[in-house]
């Protein structure tokens, strides 16, 4: 056991920090720091900067652009990105479909998609959830029927995040209606410009347009766009969701946001006084900081024990606690803003600072964190069942 990073890892961290804070355009990092929405162009520019330096997809197999890093180095990459306010590479591309294609797809699909997926030349959307298949994802109904050398897809997906920017969508579709739930599902890659595919926005409680419904009306998909084997889609989805959980505990970003909240609090009291003069407030922040520290240290323990590259069972702990603490910091921000919290539309003419203007929309938006990626109730079910052996 040891506390400090080895010299090699410390140098590695320094090198990343240097790159992230000097090479990624400042306007993008400012947008992240202000907790404002990024434009499509900003996402793409940030990811292409990383990709050009070989830093967009370190977790992928080396032959497809990944890095032969230790789990600790990958953790440091993840942390430093967030601490530097660099947008995470698009999760749908780098954390979800990329690793699935690299592990399970045909050579042809790998060659067609992987490089463009890493560089965000192709923007992927996720087509998993349906109106009647949320936490119970395996009950999905969107179906694909093979006609000659094409799949004919009919049905509806929902909660498709940033689907308005999507070029392609990876979907779970039912290919064997007779088989038991999980057994009749396949993974199909669909061009979002296909005839019969419609994207419709869903407005959320923060007033933003982040998610969409996607409708499939006799969409024709070339047979070779099926990932791996037919009716094995559930296996690929489980692999993908395991990876998703590891990535959804944004400890670095949560730490950075807490530091920003503390800074704001120093002058948010009456007459510009510090909220830390109130011992109740100071204690709340100290406790939250300690819980975030405990989670950060847990993330380091998890990476140390997952050298085989598979998701650690404790990744459910990371998802559960990571989302709770991420939300707790957004809640702290609205409380620091106080009455200014209502001024979400104030804009530049308002005297209310930007961080306070965005505090309510961000707080409302982040309620999603305990729902997506397997809701926190699903994570408790996994911990109880898989880790503790409590099976009803």
């Amino acid at each position: 056991m040891k506390l400090r990073l080895s010299e090699e890892d410390a140098a590695f961290r320094e090198e990343l920090r240097e790159f992230f804070t000097t090479k990624v355009p400042q306007h993008i990092r400012d947008t992240v720091a202000a907790r404002r929405e990024l434009s499509k162009e900003q996402f793409v520019e940030a990811q292409q900067t990383l990709d050009a330096a070989g830093l967009a997809v370190p977790g992928w197999p080396v032959e497809w652009g990944g890095k032969d890093w230790t789990p600790l180095q990958r953790h440091l990459w993840h942390e430093e990105l967030q601490l530097a306010n660099v947008p995470m590479p698009l999760a749908f591309n780098t954390g979800m479909i990329g690793p699935v294609l690299a592990n399970f797809a045909s050579q042809e699909l790998k060659e067609k998609f992987l490089a463009k997926t890493a560089s965000l030349e192709i923007w992927w959307s996720q087509g998993f959830s349906e109106p009647d298949a949320g936490s119970d994802l395996a009950s999905l109904k969107t179906k694909a029927v093979l006609e000659g050398d094409e799949w004919i897809v009919n049905g509806q997906k929902t909660w498709t995040t940033l689907g308005q920017y999507g070029d392609w969508i990876f979907t779970l579709v039912r290919t064997d209606p007779e088989a038991k739930k999980q057994a009749g599902i396949s993974m199909l890659l669909i061009d979002m410009r296909s005839e019969g595919l419609t994207v419709r926005p869903i407005e959320l409680i923060d007033g933003g347009h982040e998610v969409n419904e996607v409708f499939f009306d006799n969409v024709r998909v070339p047979a070779e766009n099926l990932v791996g084997e037919v009716n094995k889609g559930w296996d690929y989805a489980k692999f993908l969701l395991g990876n998703e959980r590891v990535g959804v505990a944004p400890v670095g970003a949560t730490k950075r946001n807490l530091a920003a909240a503390k800074e704001a609090a120093k002058t948010a009291g009456p007459g510009g006084s510090s909220l830390f003069d109130d011992p109740v407030f100071a204690a709340r922040v100290a406790d939250l900081e300690n819980e975030i520290l405990a989670l950060e240290l847990t993330a380091m323990r998890v990476v140390a024990n997952s050298s085989d590259g598979k998701p650690h069972p404790a990744s459910s702990v990371m998802k559960l606690r990571g989302s709770e603490l991420q939300q707790a910091v957004t809640e702290l921000f609205v409380d620091i803003a106080g009455p200014s919290v209502i001024a979400s539309g104030g804009g530049e003419e308002s005297d209310i600072e930007d961080w306070a203007q965005v505090s309510a929309p961000v707080y409302l938006n982040l309620r999603k964190a305990s729902i997506y990626g397997g809701s926190n109730e699903v994570q408790r079910q996994i911990i109880a069942g898989t880790i503790l052996g409590l099976r009803g």
Binding site: M1, A286, E289, N290, L293, A294, Q381
Partner: protein
């Protein structure tokens, strides 16, 4: 940062677990031993000494084995796993650290050597009634100069205070600051009133009336800093004890949910219960991370303020976790959890006591809150 034990540490863990698992093989055994004086097993203590567990952190020249905080943590955690009543954190860590830091060559050889051999049980008399968790003593005062000192006042509760072969006493110095003194059990004006504690252990009210005392180390020097660091080390050892106890409490509770049937089905059929068990696991694992980290800070940093802060952070988290786990463990058992015959309630009792030794969660939170605005992101590496 690396959280993995090396093979020697694994071997130590296995050996201590084996010894204590045999010594405390049932709730009944522990109850019997805790009921009879001195409240723990002298023979188990001897076996721990023979294994080398009692001299781990001391220098070889002082009769120890020159191991570090990680090894101490391993033993403390195994003590916690079976809630063994032996005073490991009090004797080896708190008393040992004070003597290590302050004692003369002669005092170190005698006291640390005696602890390592299992032949000397010292008790640290630090807490004072009405003083809560104050780091500076006020109720017990020292008078004198050179090597001739006397102590007056009362310390309570003093863990193992009645059985102790030597009292190590913190006292307010005439010139201000804190001194540490050694008092022999037959010293004049010393009285000890022993009693049972809420977790089945032993503590005492210890009164000094112009009682002769020998300074530990340099006479008359203010040693508040050394006391604070020894206290931090003991806090972290208690955290490991609590961690071991919480791990067992969660394990026992999970097992109960699997086997206990009501309405014709195992309790684990009810999601309202299994979700709460999942929350206990999350609490336990995040607590383990911060407690192990605090031990690494002790092992790898020379920055006293960082070490003390790490101990506070661990103790705060352990306080929250031990209440959550201790309360839920009983509740998830139902009525059986209330009985002295069954194990789980003893774990909750021990966790409740540990929480309130050397500062509870609220105390440490308050201390952390005073400096939380002084830094931006908190850096666990202490760079």
């Amino acid at each position: 940062m690396d959280f993995v034990y090396d093979s020697e540490q694994e071997a130590l863990k296995g050996a201590v677990a084996g010894l204590l698992g045999k010594a405390y093989d049932s709730t009944e055994t522990r109850r019997e031993i805790a009921k009879s004086d001195p409240g723990w097993s002298e023979s188990t203590w001897q076996q721990l000494a023979e294994m080398g567990a009692l001299g781990l952190p001391f220098a070889e020249a002082d009769g120890g084995f020159g191991a570090g905080p990680v090894e101490v943590a391993i033993v403390a955690e195994e003590i916690g796993h079976v809630i063994a009543p032996e005073p490991y954190a009090e004797t080896v860590v708190l008393a040992g650290s004070l003597v290590q830091a302050l004692g003369t060559d002669e005092q170190r050889a005698e006291i640390l050597g005696g602890i390592a051999e299992g032949s000397l049980i010292p008790a640290v008399a630090h807490t004072e009634v009405g003083g809560r968790y104050a780091e500076q003593p006020t109720a017990v005062t020292a008078a004198g100069s050179g090597d001739a000192w006397t102590l007056s006042g009362t310390k309570e509760p003093v863990i193992t205070g009645e059985r102790a072969d030597l009292l190590i006493v913190t006292a307010a110095l005439p010139s201000g600051g804190t001194g540490v003194f050694l008092v022999k059990p037959d010293a004049s004006g010393l009285s000890r009133h022993g009693y049972r504690t809420a977790d089945g252990g032993r503590a005492a009210k210890v009164t000094f009336a112009d009682t002769p005392a020998a300074p530990l180390g340099e006479a008359g020097a203010d040693v508040s800093d050394a006391v604070a660091l020894a206290v931090a080390k003991a806090q972290i050892a208690y955290c490991h004890e609590a961690l071991g106890a919480m791990e067992t409490a969660v394990k026992i509770t999970v097992e109960y949910l699997k086997t206990r049937k009501q309405f014709g089905v195992p309790l684990m059929t009810f999601q309202a219960l299994t979700f709460r068990a999942a929350d206990l696991y999350v609490q336990l694992e995040t607590t383990r991370s911060i407690v192990m980290w605090a031990t690494l800070v002790l092992a790898d940093s020379d920055d006293r303020a960082f070490q003390i802060e790490a101990a506070r952070r661990a103790k705060l988290k352990v306080s929250k976790a031990s209440r959550h786990i201790g309360q839920e463990a009983i509740q998830l058992h139902g009525g059986i959890g209330m009985t002295a015959e069954y194990s789980i309630g003893h774990y909750t009792a021990r966790l409740t006591v540990i929480d309130h030794l050397l500062g509870d969660g609220a105390f440490h939170l308050n201390e952390l809150a005073t400096s939380v605005a002084d830094h931006a992101e908190y850096d666990p590496f202490g760079d």
